[in-house]
Symmetry: C2
Subunit: 396 residues, 2 copies
């Protein structure tokens, strides 16, 4: 039977890159591809204890929950938001299945066929796929290490009147950059001027390497809480398996997203939400995040030093100030998309840069994840990677 | 700010009924409204043990998982499906956040603006909302206690060429009915003839009161597995808080739904999926389901007998052979929508029948859930309910 799929599925096609990366889960492949946290420092016993508390709290814990999320968890999130300077209340917080679901639900309530979304370039691949699946046109704003180019942003806001601007201002995926304070304020000012919403995606904000710097979320600058919808997740700072993220923003938007979520899945796992509540209440998450920061910083430096040794005529990268990714621009002769297959055969995986671009891709870029592999595996993986990338016969 | 929501949100409006039912969670209200399982028989200790096994299985258990779901759980589901006569394999099973997500993802890959979906009448309210949210037109097929009217079905398949037919053939929501074997086969034959897909929603199939009857899932009749997409959930037979459902169907459809799910939320909680795997492996779920059946049957009979005592000129209902709901047609003078507010004030909640209708609603119908309240609370709740419904001043 030829199934009569909806036309929107034409944008669903799996990329060649994703197909290759599917085979990278074998143990012999050292993967710098996925955005996976370090398993060896997961707080397993603390999570176990938290679940035990859920099961001891009464049978009602196993019943259906609210679409909006477990109220005591939303109160914990409110406190967490306050520490970042973001005013919220349990009423304008919606708990979701990771922040991926926030991107999807927000798109679902905002985007009609032909609407425009402005993004950085490069930006998060799976967000692009969501925007396209709702028939939106994605327009890239010229971006550098400081954020979006102010003039190009102004021109495109004026020209396209987008539904929203999607940004990852702190330790971006894929390129690990941090927006400057000026560019943050500038984006917000322009969005006030043109009355455009911002979706601020902040999954990595907690994983900051240097204590002496402070990166202010856009949502904290949006004092009236009218223009910024902010999302983050516990996947990176606690554990991914819980699949618990959240969104906070203007109450009308959060309520509309809750209606969409009710149709989508009624509510996210309430066992996970309750366990997370006990974990946030009783476990020293701040110390744990310090451990993550130290460990990821160490792993990042191994990768950074390895590349630096080879010289900037071969590999250029800005040192990430946090997060999980290093973005590398190789010598122009090197086509990373073409070389992925050989790298996987050699037992190392990465993500070529091209699919992250909205505009003209740079085929000599690639993304490396430094959080998942142990220092020894990073060293070994970089040996394998460089042996493939620098093999003259395989260059473009 | 006036937020520029997508036009699809115009179908999202919360119903007056839902707004009233939101206040029914206070302890003094006896609620026959929601579709909640009985908390007092939740297998809490077995669930706790299952989670313990997850945490003892290694840190990798807390890492990101596959979009399609935890493979050993999918193998368990395959075995469960085989016992119902449904052929499947882990490759054409997708694990979801409840079967609500299946309805949503299937609609997302199938429905374009203006497409038609055929349904029973009355049918599951939240499915109707999903279909409408994708711009579909929902057309009701005349239905009686045996299922859809064969001639009306044929005419409407011919006339509308729907994208799919949505049915709950076993212990339907809201009206608790079971389709006859003839009507099942007839629906399938017609869908083969017109080449139309069927979405078979089977959340209640396990909760069967009488051992001597067998209700064959449509998917088991679809021997080539080409036309029926089958969904069920562990929410009713294990616990709702896990939010774990699944779908099985033609591989092309399952793969397309997996792509949609990847954009929607990457994957459902993998802790829950792993715990469910251990639970299915080590816990006697069959005995537990027997306990549920006995207990729900007892509760149903209390409600049934209460209504029968009042006479069929006041309340008519067919005795449910399973599931969680009793559907009552009251004397025509009684408008259940109008009386809901007063019932809630009296400390009892139900769902008026009108919102479940696609075509002309019967305002004298209502749905009662018999699974959630204890026998004593059912008795007390029925006293309250009848005192409101039979108060002459409050009838229509």
């Amino acid at each position: 039977m030829n199934y009569p799929f909806a036309s929107r599925t034409q944008s669903f096609e799996s990329s060649a890159v994703r197909d290759i990366l599917k085979v990278t889960q074998q143990a012999h492949v050292i993967s710098f591809a996925g955005g996976l946290p370090a398993e060896d420092i997961f707080p397993v016993e603390a999570v176990r204890t938290a679940y035990d508390k859920v099961f001891s709290s009464g049978n009602n814990a196993l019943q259906y929950g609210l679409t909006e999320g477990f109220i005591p968890l939303r109160e914990m999130i409110q406190t967490k938001m306050e520490r970042k300077g973001i005013t919220s209340s349990p009423e304008n917080i919606l708990v979701t299945t990771g922040s991926q679901q926030v991107i999807d639900l927000f798109s679902r309530i905002m985007l009609s066929e032909g609407d425009v979304v402005l993004t950085e370039d490069p930006t998060y691949l799976s967000a692009l796929q969501v925007f396209h699946s709702y028939g939106a046109e994605v327009i890239a704003v010229h971006s550098d290490q400081e954020g979006m180019d102010p003039e190009d942003l102004r021109v495109k806001l004026e020209q396209y009147q987008p539904k929203f601007v999607y940004v990852i201002p702190t330790f971006s995926n894929p390129d690990g950059k941090v927006w400057s304070a000026e560019r943050r304020q500038h984006l917000l000012d322009l969005c006030y001027q043109y009355n455009i919403l911002i979706l601020e995606d902040d999954p990595y904000g907690d994983i900051q390497f240097h204590d002496d710097e402070y990166y202010q979320p856009l949502a904290s600058l949006d004092e009236q809480r009218t223009h910024v919808v902010y999302t983050s997740t516990f996947s990176k700072s606690v554990v991914p398996a819980l699949r618990t993220g959240w969104v906070t923003g203007p109450i009308e938007i959060i309520q509309m997203m809750a209606k969409a979520k009710q149709m989508n899945d009624l509510h996210s796992s309430s066992l996970d939400q309750q366990a997370l509540y006990y974990l946030l209440r009783d476990f020293d998450l701040d110390s744990h995040i310090q451990t993550i920061r130290r460990e990821y910083y160490l792993r990042m430096t191994i990768m950074r030093d390895y590349l630096a040794k080879l010289g900037t005529d071969l590999f250029k990268c800005a040192e990430p100030k946090g997060g999980m990714f290093m973005w590398v621009e190789a010598n122009e002769e090197i086509n990373t998309t073409a070389l992925l297959h050989q790298a996987v055969e050699k037992g190392v995986a990465f993500v070529p840069g091209a699919p992250f671009y909205v505009g003209q891709p740079k085929y000599n870029t690639f993304r490396l994840n430094f959080s998942h592999s142990s220092p020894e595996r990073i060293q070994e993986g970089m040996d394998r990677l460089v042996s493939v990338l620098l093999k003259p016969a395989h260059s473009k």
